[in-house]
Symmetry: C2
Subunit: 401 residues, 2 copies
DNA sequence: CTGAAAGCGCTTACAG
DNA sequence: CTGAAAGCGCTTACAG
């Protein structure tokens, strides 16, 4: 029996019957059994390195070497492989490559997607709000990743969905994780950090992971000083982002500190709670006005999108910005400079944040070395019109190289 | 010699010496050689299914079955596996899983990142322009993908970079591709379509791939009629997007057709070329004004971001919108409703576009079945203020469920 | 320079 | 129900 049955001896005998250039015929059979006559087994699925080797008349090792530029294959070998690759339309399977290399060249990124909330009157907030800031960060990550031949694998989490399962699946598909703000609580981050390289963006510093954020305190302090000392505003308020966001807390604290230190009054209360989105900012103003509250001279918002909603709501109610109330943002997203009035804000190096997060993760992936320090990037005040400053006369849409 | 050397007999003998719970010690050795004394080989790298099996005292097959909910493992088996998984912090390797399943559960998405262009006076345009529309589409893809346990693998391409290599690498890491507008020329798309399932967004229909787009013609025709018939504008112009964008061409053609049919005048010329970004729209206005051109009564822009820049530049020059010139957009990105004036535009179902692109691709991945028809989603005119309509009195930031 | 062989970490018929 | 074995498609020492 042993010598009659032509059972597979090595993996590559499975491929003996492939017809080069023949289009995939059925696409249904998964395991190719050795053909009876050993002559016309149909080709299934995309071509593999075995198919290329057979067509080129070389070993799979040579194919691999040509494709990866290892050693110096003979010109003849190289040409035959390249011809076969082109003929078959061969694309190497990343999974097999990742398995042997122990490197997927994939960075997992987890963002928090906006919740669909229901307000008191049973109306849903728009769930298609824009994630400008996170999207811009992801762009920074992607551009940096590209230079290392990495790609960006995105997953979003929301409240009440079994996120752990989703995140673990993401980990299994990547070499390391970058977590946006408020994606996991610090405990979970710490635990994850033991299993895989993790970088957090604007998160809580956790041993074993690296946190990348920008200097909220300095930026907000500079803004506060500008509002109080330069413009002379005596009453100020803050419209917060998500209450569990470290960025939000740092900005708020710095504002209160500076405003108080400069002898102005900080107005606060439960109504001043936003959610990082324009809708949230607008709602705060609506509620404030509806309940007859007085408005301070200046409102500092947790981010630009909130400021956008605030300006919108104020103008709707006939309140001029900055004439009636000054409004400022945080982030300096691209649209901020195209608004009326142009938005005064604190500039974060948004794409740099992403790029540095990736580079940090990349170094963690490559050497499992010891502890690394958290990173804080500088911020700076961008004075435009919404704080009360005069319009600038610089070119509108261009910048110096 | 044969019986003295304790060489690996099966793959799993490699794991005999692992110390459960011990932290990864060196992290440098890659291949674990059989330990001399066969007793204290250090654990390396993250735990595998063999480690879990050993700790749980079962076979790797049982571990796999528990983890994937196949068959009905005995409660005892299940518990021991779950305990071992928790103890070791085991996360299954997606690459190995993908290799055997022939499914990576990953959708590759290619976007075109904005070019860094140099204008005539040697000044660079801001490369951090916002990709709101593509980002929103990607969100739609991601949400749909999630429901199928897929993740989104992103890669961006730009002019002059060796994109083919990058895209092929992406293909190797995913089960299928969604291509944004202007990522590849139709020839390349067609070729790729032979090798892997491909869905294009607003691309040129190609045999073997499926194109998903929205009804540009109907939307733009509706807008044009509104401007000419309802508002009575007699001169109109169009600020284009990228000249090689099918969306752009369809919108322009529909506008010209309708404007002409309605007996109004269509103004055009080389200066009216934008690039889908705010900076491009603003520059068109600047150039027009600088060269002493007269402005039409209404300007329809290729998309909302362009309109944003146009409004900005007009207002800067003291031209009221819509009083002096009416301006409209296309897309209805979230920020459009928060601008002053609120932007009249054509609404595309942005996230639906992404979701449907994914679902189409998913079905292509699961059955390599025959040809599929291209898909066109409906659009509709959203009348707000920038066309000359009065402000609406509906709630500002909410919508009905 | 090149090829035969081993092995990456999983899943799943196939027997028991 | 469970385990031993095969195999997914690659890369890379190891010999020749």
């Amino acid at each position: 029996v042993d010598e009659i049955v032509p059972g597979p001896v090595r993996g590559d005998t499975r491929h003996h019957g492939g017809v080069p250039g023949a289009p995939n015929a059925t696409g249904t059979v998964r395991r190719v059994l050795p053909a009876e006559g050993d002559t016309e087994a149909a080709e299934h699925g995309p071509p593999t390195i075995y198919d290329v080797a057979r067509v080129a008349g070389v070993s799979i090792a040579s194919v691999s070497r040509v494709l990866n530029g290892r050693r110096n294959p003979l010109p003849d070998t190289r040409e035959r492989v390249e011809r076969a690759v082109a003929e078959l339309g061969f694309i190497p399977d990343g999974a097999a490559r990742a398995l042997i290399l122990r490197l997927k060249e994939v960075v997992g990124v987890v963002i928090r997607r906006p919740e669909v909330t229901v307000s008191a009157d049973g109306i849903f907030e728009d769930e298609e709000t824009s994630l400008q800031f996170p999207d811009l960060i992801n762009r920074g990550i992607e551009v940096a990743a590209q230079k290392r031949d990495f790609n960006l694998l995105v997953s979003s989490v929301g409240l009440g969905h079994d996120d752990t399962r989703r995140i673990l699946a993401l980990v299994g598909k990547s070499d390391g994780l970058i977590l946006h703000d408020r994606v996991l609580d610090p405990d979970q981050v710490g635990r994850l950090g033991h299993q895989v390289p993790v970088v957090t963006l604007a998160g809580m510093p956790t041993p074993g992971t690296v946190n990348v954020s920008s200097d909220n305190r300095a930026g907000m302090a500079e803004l506060a000083s500008h509002l109080v000392r330069d413009h002379g505003y005596r009453t100020l308020a803050y419209i917060g982002g998500h209450p569990d966001s470290p960025d939000n807390l740092a900005r708020r604290d710095a504002l209160i500190e500076q405003v108080t230190a400069d002898g102005a009054e900080f107005v606060s209360g439960p109504l001043w709670q936003g959610n990082y989105f324009a809708a949230g900012g607008a709602r705060v103003i609506e509620n404030l006005l509806a309940s007859g509250n007085f408005l301070p001279q200046a409102i500092a918002c947790a981010n630009d999108q909130t400021a956008l909603g605030v300006v919108y709501a104020l103008v709707r109610h006939g309140i001029d910005v900055p004439g009636g109330v000054a409004v400022t943002g945080f982030d300096d997203i691209p649209v901020a400079r195209h608004l009326h009035p142009q938005l005064t804000t604190v500039r974060q190096p948004i794409t740099d944040l992403g790029a540095i997060a990736f580079e940090t993760l990349y170094s963690m992936i490559n050497d499992a070395g010891g502890a690394r320090a958290d990173i804080t990037l500088p911020t700076r005040l961008v004075r435009r019109e919404s704080c009360g400053c005069p319009p600038t006369s610089t070119p509108l849409t261009v910048r110096q190289p």
